[in-house]
Symmetry: C2
Subunit: 470 residues, 2 copies
């Protein structure tokens, strides 16, 4: 791969854009990392404010064959926006002019720099609902969500970002403007370029506008914390609930290590002697949720739950969710480095996945805690370690590979919601096979013949094969 | 385009497949048309019974550069399976060995020749639900549904086929076996090849297995027929219902011409003096639907409905749907040729689309009736004409072009659920633009460098520019 000199792009664009191009090292530094691992200093950072500026940037990058890396607010957990071959980071978080809700069409039209939570609030003002809720929603941009096909707890009932993107405007890797899809739920005109771009991690173009589907806001919700003496029973309870005609909007699981970590960090009255706790939420019509949460309670008690706490009001509900949301910061105190995985398995395999994770924990003698969106099989095994401890990191690498293999053997996937990025690229062929990899390469080449749009992501190269870049 | 001789493929495969290759003209004849227009006699028809046979067929077709056309049961309304350049039709309707429901995973794994309605019934046996319901569901195959991304009345609440396909096995145009996606709702590993293939109309490969997402079966449903004196009020009622926190599973609309046609065909007590009738169905928890159908009634009466008939039991409910389902056969009696369009607009544009359709009807002096899935903007303007009347058919062609233009001008799409096929290929650039067309061509070439997999579909050529092949 031979790329051109970023400084040529910088000089050519100098004075032609609304915001100044960042070339100071201090400025560039804050664009050298994301929420995963590895630091790569970009040669420059450009902050376009409009689609036309993005076109100008891409066309100039094409002219000088300089790689460009679209970026939102950098909350990626897989290395999506890292400038691994140098070049220019294109920070789209300044494109914030549009957040339009069209209640009659049940759609919103949004600029890429708008935060996910801003869309939640704008929809709510019209009695509508934008379901995808990545944990980062207060800081992550919709452009980033589209690039990574972000998920969250509500995926179980409502699906993920992909299920809400009806149309896109992107600037292609050759600097053209492509509009895909539209404002209708039904659209079968030509190939589904919209969904091809969703989740392509910024490798097929830069998103400059998103058309989102909204749904009526559920009128009510009920939430319960359910405590189990063993993990397998909790897994059986999940299955039973889901085949009883009830589709909760979230089924979150915490293992004992999480419960203990949260209690020692922000005491939330969690049962630290339990092996597992589920947080189950149902939403919808008030009569329906009242009845459904009772059924959930009955099913769980029948399957051996030792305690069911149903939130009696919104305050209690928020307390339950607060405890759940403390897991990440709480476990981060165990050791300095947190490797957050998102291996996802078919629901029925959750108990087996737990068994495998236990084995991996013991085999490699690591601090491995597990929580996540158990209702859709999307677990978050987190390994707590110390990146400065080379010996431990070797065990971490082995353990992570084994987690990936276990997920795939059980019919699951490497990544449920974090993306492949740089971190998991070496493992891609394990899941999609040689023909899948070949088709991926062909699609990438078809869109981006110069390979300048976010190179080094998704598709493995032979230069590295580690999960954690150090 | 220069293709090889199909007889070479036939001789090479002779005696190597379980079912005999069809080469008699009488046999081939029944594969020369679908539910749209135009007849193209294939050179041969092959009926594989397994993935391995499909691989053998495709590899042999590659060897001799002979075009192949995947086909289900031929209910396509856009020309999807027509062998427009001669060659071999690959009839996948004999691949029926697998219809497995995994209730704990909420998935079904299905062979391409299984009929959609068989999946409905298999899911129901487990208290589960496969929502997509194209009107052809009793005869159409899931392979065809995947190829065309089929819709139906329930698209409003539940989405379309695409929203339920979690994974695919396909034989690529080069004869390789590609597995995409898997059994999990969340999967962000690599490009979304699954959704790229869904709706690609058999141009990117032959589907040999489908993994479908199932959902819990709604416990109850309520249905109402609502009668309006004018179309605009019915459009306003739709908007009001959808912004009131209720998401019906279907909002079907019939205009006066439909009402009259049904009454003179199979009297169903429909109000022939009304300008429009809506059929609204809500489903879910029994308490919720009881309450919601009352709210629907109140909203519609407030907006000027002159009558609301709520079905009091399942028999009455089925009577209402029976009337709705008589529209197609009823209007088919008006004139011998039925041009069924599926132009789809954002919901708020439905009243304006009606106005445009009225203008088009008058301008071209045609029998144009309108019904369809109004809740998701997916109308079915049907032009009743006589294919032998050249002068009339000229007006039909003009009218259809104008319908397409109107849909796109109003922010909609050429096709909501029927597909582009041969019929609308000439109009594709009108919607997706030159860059979209270019990307479509590149993707097709990346998957199918020899252009032997269902050529002549979606992508326009310069040989024809008519909707109705005669």
């Amino acid at each position: 791969m031979s790329y051109g000199d970023a400084s040529q792009v910088v000089s050519e664009l100098h004075g032609k854009l609304q915001r100044e191009i960042l070339t100071d090292e201090a400025d560039r530094w804050s664009y050298s990392f994301d929420a995963s691992f590895g630091t790569f200093l970009p040669d420059a950072v450009i902050q376009p404010v409009s689609r036309d500026e993005v076109v100008k940037i891409v066309q100039t990058a094409v002219k000088y064959r300089v790689p460009i890396y679209p970026r939102g607010t950098g909350s990626s957990l897989s290395g999506g926006p890292l400038p691994v071959y140098g070049g220019i980071v294109v920070d789209t978080s300044w494109m914030r002019d549009k957040l339009e809700v069209y209640p009659d069409d049940l759609v919103a039209v949004v600029s890429p720099g708008i935060h996910t939570a801003e869309i939640h609030r704008a929809a709510e003002a019209y009695g509508l609902f934008y379901p995808p809720d990545p944990s980062s929603s207060e800081v992550s941009t919709i452009g980033g969500n589209v690039a990574e096909n972000s998920g969250g707890p509500r995926g179980l009932k409502y699906g993920v970002t992909r299920d809400y993107v009806l149309g896109l405007e992107i600037v292609t890797p050759e600097g053209g403007v492509l509009r895909t899809g539209g404002r209708t739920v039904k659209n079968v005109t030509g190939y589904d370029l919209t969904r091809l771009i969703v989740g392509s991690e910024g490798t097929l173009g830069i998103v400059t506008e998103v058309i989102l589907r909204l749904v009526p806001r559920p009128q009510d919700r009920r939430t319960a914390l359910i405590v189990f003496d063993d993990l397998v029973s909790s897994g059986r309870a999940i299955s039973k609930v889901l085949t009883s005609g009830i589709l909760p909007c979230a089924i979150e699981l915490m293992d004992q290590a999480c419960l203990i970590a949260v209690e020692s960090y922000r005491p939330s009255n969690l049962p630290t002697d339990a092996q597992a706790a589920l947080l189950i939420e149902v939403d919808g019509h008030p009569e329906a949720v009242r009845d459904e949460i009772k059924k959930v309670e009955a099913i769980c008690l029948e399957l051996g739950a030792k305690e069911v706490r149903v939130a009696r009001n919104e305050t209690e509900r928020q307390q339950l969710w607060f405890a759940r949301k403390q897991i990440s910061p709480a476990i981060a105190r165990i050791k300095p480095t947190k490797i957050s995985e998102d291996a996802t398995v078919p629901r029925s395999q959750i108990p087996e996945m737990f068994r495998r994770l236990n084995q991996i924990r013991e085999k490699y003698d690591l601090q491995l805690v597990v929580f996540g969106h158990a209702g859709d099989g999307n677990l978050h095994p987190n390994i707590m370690c110390d990146i400065r401890d080379d010996e431990e990191m070797e065990r971490v690498e082995e353990a992570v590979s084994e987690i990936f293999r276990a997920a795939i053997e059980l019919g699951g996937t490497l990544s449920g919601e974090h993306g492949i990025g740089t971190m998991k690229a070496p493992f891609l062929p394990m899941e999609i096979g040689e023909i899948g990899l070949d088709m991926t390469r062909r699609i990438k080449a078809a869109f981006d013949p110069l390979n300048i749009m976010n190179p080094g992501k998704i598709i493995p190269n032979n230069e590295r094969n580690r999960v954690v870049l150090r």
